[in-house]
Every structure is written in C-alpha cells, then in structure tokens.
C-alpha cells in the first residue's frame, strides 16, 4: 500500500557516505543544544544508518504503516543518531534537527512516542527496549505478520536486570523475527565497562540464553554491519544478537575512546574541528 515511498536501499559505499552526514548532524545538533550524548551516538552511527537506509522496510511518509519493520533505540540517550537518520530518510525536515532539546520541540532529549511520529518506544530509562521488542515480535507471530523488530542496546545498559529477563524470554519464545544489537563501545557514564561492571564473555552469555550470536569485530565497519544484519535474516528458530565492537566517539578524533564526551557538548572550536574531520 505504501511501497512506492519505501526508503531506497543504499549500497555500502553510499551508506559510508551517509554515515558522514549523520555524524555531522549528531555533532551539530549537540553543539547547538549545548547538551546531549555524542559518544554513544557516534559509536552507533553505522548500525543505525545501515538500518534506516538499507535494512528496515519502512515508509517515512507513513510512520504507522502496520507492516513496517520496528526499530527501538533502547539506549535512548543516543537519540541524535536516530533523529538524524529519521530526518535524512524523510520522517521530518532536516532543518528541525536544530530544535533538539529545545522547548516545544518534537526532538526530545530522549525519544518519546507521543512527541515524534516514527518513534516506536519512549526510552531513556535503560533496560526496557528489548522487552518491548519481544511484545512486538511475539505479536507479529501471533497475528501472522511478517515485519521484523530490531532493538539497539548499549553495553553499559546490560547492567540492567530487565535486559536478562527479556533475553531469557526471547530465547524461550524462539523469536527469529527479533534482532538485538549491542553497541559495545566499552564505556558507560562513570567509566569503562570493565571497571564499573565487567560483562565477561557476552557471546557466551547470549548463547546460554538461547540466542544466535553474531559478533562483529568492527561495528564501525559498514560492510561488517550490513553483512551481520543480512545474516541475521536467514536464521530460523532463534532470536539473533549482534554484538558490535565499536569505538565510543568514533569519527571525531578528540572524542574517540574519550569518555568525557559521554554526555558533553563540544565547544564552538571543537565543533569546527569535528566538522573539518567529518568529510
């Protein structure tokens, strides 16, 4: 019914170029708002760009299309990457990105369903997205619908107990229409994941919960990201988790692996430098 307006699927080369645009949006939005979370937005840029410009069957002009694939940004603080991809695929004018975090804006500090059409879940309180994804995936199975559901979590987010309640449940329900992606950028707000709450072997953990595990060596390599999503689509009888090893702050030299930029905006000078680098 809306296939004519479905987003054109970009090639890997095109996706790589698009990711540069998305990164520029992220930095400009956060600089303009003088607040926000650049580090975890930049680490997830390849993942979200690949989804919105290639993997997802979606129609930006008809965000409530019932057969659309669903994407939930469980790590809600990384919403600049989501907003950029939504704007660039046509959900709303790119110009509106400038209202990020401003009063009366639809582009909230963390995503909200009732503010912006196309947002599938109100997130920002970590740990909740995968449970919602299970409901969406199980609902599809019960009703014979073919859409797929994607949930992006952080690695720090895996501290939340609810994630493991949902991991156990999705494995038990054999939800092969559900994909979780862990943006494993190795940092959380207070410091390194290995120091705050080490996760030990993530593949072993998800395996033990009944998931098909795909680990990507470089989650900022577009080819590897696209390949992982395509491989996940072929798996039957199990949900798939893509563990993407990423770099926090990827693409901006002074932000890479610098946790000072977990939740801090660049100064005007830093912005200028970032935009010089992102070409």
């Amino acid at each position: 019914m809306s296939a004519e307006t479905l987003t054109k699927k970009l090639s890997v080369d095109e996706l790589i170029k698009e990711a540069v645009t998305v990164r520029r949006d992220i930095i400009e939005m956060i600089a303009h708002a003088n607040s926000g979370h650049p580090g975890g937005s930049l680490s997830a840029t390849e993942i979200v760009t690949a989804l919105y410009f290639n993997i997802l069957n979606h129609d930006p002009k008809n965000p409530h299309w019932e057969d659309r694939d669903r994407f939930i940004l469980s790590k809600g603080h990384a919403c600049p990457v989501l907003y950029s991809c939504m704007a660039r695929t046509g959900y709303f004018p790119v110009e509106e990105l400038k209202t990020f975090r401003a009063i009366n804006s639809r582009i909230q500090g963390h995503p909200e369903v009732r503010k912006l059409p196309g947002i599938e879940a109100s997130t920002g309180s970590l740990g909740q997205g995968l449970s919602i994804g299970i409901g969406l995936a199980l609902g599809a199975k019960l009703q014979g619908k073919n859409y797929r559901t994607y949930v992006l979590t952080g690695d720090g987010e895996l501290d939340e107990g609810q994630v493991w309640e949902s991991a156990l449940c999705a494995g038990h329900k054999a939800l092969d229409n559900l994909v979780a992606i862990v943006d494993s950028n190795k940092f959380q707000l207070d410091g390194a994941v290995k120091d705050i709450m080490p996760l030990a072997s993530l593949p072993d953990k998800w395996n033990a919960f009944g998931w098909n595990v795909i680990e990507i060596e470089d989650g900022n390599n577009m080819q590897q990201v696209v390949d992982a999503f395509e491989k996940a689509e072929t798996v039957k009888g199990k949900p798939t988790v893509i563990i993407a090893n990423t770099i926090k702050g990827k693409g901006v030299s002074y932000m890479e692996n610098n946790n000072e930029f977990h939740g801090a905006a660049p100064t005007p000078e830093q912005l200028a430098q970032a935009l010089k680098e992102l070409v």
Partner: protein, 316 residues
C-alpha cells in the same frame, strides 16, 4: 436488624470469568501473567485461549514491556500479577513503556489490600492505588463486587488508553445487580443521605453500607458513594456530596493519603471545603493473619466508619 447481604465471588474470580468473555469478543486481546495466573485467575483465559496467553515467568518488568510491545503489534494486552508486584516491581516500566506513550495496556493487580491475609506484608498491596494514580492519564478502577468487576473488565477492553484494575482475594459482598451499568469517571450513588457522605472503594463499600444502616437507627442519615473509578475521579459527585451533606468520610483498603482519601480531599478542598475523616491503613505495614482479623485490627470495619462519622459530625 443488621443489614442483610449476600457474598458473591471474589473480584479476582469475576475478573477471570469476564476475561474469557472479553477474549471471545475481542480476537486481538492477548493476556500476560508473571507466574501467578492461578491466583490472579487469568488462567481462565489461558485454558480457553492458550495461543493468546503468555506466561512471562516471574519477571514483572519484562511483562510490562512485552505488553507495551503487543500494543505496537496491533493487539490489546491484559497483564496481571499481584497488585504489589505489578505496580511496585513494574513501576518504571509502566511509567516509561506504558504511561509516557499512553499505550492501550490493561494492568490488573489481584490480592490487593491486606485482605489477602496470611501471606503477610510482602504480598499485601497498600501502595498500588497511589502509584497508579501518580501516572499522568492512567485510569484507575477499583471494583467492589462480582458484577462491577465483570462490567469494568469489559469496559476497560473497550476503553482506549492505559488502565489499572485492582482486584481482591476474598469473596466480596454483592452490591450491584445484573444490568447495572458503569462509566469511567462516574461514581455510583448507592444510598442517599443528608448528614454525611461515605465515599468508599473495594471491600469498604459494604462496610460503609453497614455503617449507614446502623446509624439510621440513631437518626443519622448517611449517603454512600462507590468511587470505583479513582482516576479520573468524579469531581462533580464529590462536590455535590460535600455541598449537600457537609461532611465526607473516605474508606479504602489502602494507605491513607496516597490513595482515595488524598484524591477526594484534593477535590473537596478545591470545590467545597467541609470536614473530612479518613478510614484506611494509617502509615504502617500490616502483617499475617486471617482476613477478618486484619480488617478488624487495622480499623477497616463498619464500626470504624461509624466512629469516624460521629467524629466528623462534631466538626460540622
């Protein structure tokens, strides 16, 4: 002569029966429970529609999120657990995954109040109404008997938006007759009176009627209102009762202040300030015991309402 009344089914049993009817009527209803379906009675739905029943295991947080996801898939989820567990353990999930996006999720908490008895304070829910009412645009329903529970279960399936329904473990006195109708936001006037109004919910409704009956012999005319919909609360009914009877008592199996009493007092203060007294759990946890013993010990009986009425009338 004491007021005569019949005991009907427990409200949780009535819920279980009505849920089957709702499942027949609405093919897109899905029911979730967190390993308490035998107690919440959602098992009745599970027996009839196993393909539309999801046992989430003992994980309330995940259950609430799943319910939210089911809405996104085009279904109407009913999620149940004990009132204390669904509301306290699932609260942030209800807040962010359900209330913030204002999703059409139906939450049902059984074993509410202290009348579940012997299991003690960890299972007794005395905070759930306060928590549910604190969420923007959440509808909060507290039926008092079998008939109203069944009607409200059907009503919440048709109502668009998040709803919390509170049910109980013990058999409940029959207050309504078949065919009585209910509307969200409209309280039920059960007995007219002119000296004082008792606004009650749940098991306290029959206690209020008993108190009113007793006081009639003393020449005190007591009005009784069933405020089965605590949110949105019936402002017009409260203001009218305050104006016409000049004194208000609230009665509930819940902490005073956080639940019905606070919400009624807010309306009274704003519309028609009159003296009030409150019957409920007074800033404490309860304990193990037989339901009747607990209702006696924690002051949730007709005699406590009678005492409160005498007290409030002196302040008129």
């Amino acid at each position: 002569m004491a007021l005569e009344f019949k005991l009907g089914k427990a409200t949780r049993d009535a819920y279980g029966e009505a849920l089957v009817e709702v499942g027949q009527e609405h093919k897109n209803v899905v029911v979730l429970d967190s390993d308490l379906s035998k107690s919440t009675k959602s098992i009745e739905f599970a027996k009839k529609f196993p393909e539309r029943f999801v046992n989430c295991g003992i994980s309330e947080a995940n259950m609430i999120g799943m319910a939210a996801g089911f809405v996104g898939s085009g279904m109407i989820p009913f999620a149940s657990s004990f009132a204390s567990f669904i509301m306290c353990k699932g609260f942030d999930q209800i807040r962010m995954s359900v209330a913030n996006p204002h999703l059409n999720v139906k939450l049902v908490g059984s074993h509410s109040g202290i009348s579940l008895g012997e299991d003690g304070a960890s299972q007794q829910s005395i905070e759930d109404i306060g928590l549910a009412c604190s969420l923007p645009q959440m509808t909060v329903l507290v039926p008092c008997d079998e008939t109203s529970t069944k009607s409200l279960t059907h009503l919440m399936a048709k109502h668009e938006g998040p709803v919390y329904l509170r049910t109980g473990r013990p058999k409940a006195a029959t207050i309504y007759k078949d065919g009585d109708t209910f509307e969200i936001g409209k309280a039920k006037l059960l007995r007219d009176g002119k000296d004082v109004t008792v606004i009650a919910i749940g098991l306290l409704v029959i206690e209020a009627l008993i108190a009113a009956d007793q006081l009639e012999a003393e020449g005190i005319s007591v009005r009784v209102v069933d405020m089965f919909c605590v949110k949105p609360i019936d402002i017009d009914m409260i203001a009218k009762c305050a104006k016409e009877t000049g004194a208000i008592i609230t009665a509930e199996e819940h902490l005073i202040g956080a639940g019905l009493s606070g919400h009624v007092a807010q309306v009274v203060a704003q519309t028609t300030p009159v003296p009030m007294e409150y019957i409920g759990i007074d800033d404490t946890y309860a304990e193990s015991g037989k339901p009747d013993e607990l209702l006696d010990k924690y002051g949730l009986r007709a005699k406590n309402i009678v005492d409160a009425i005498h007290k409030v009338l002196k302040r008129k």
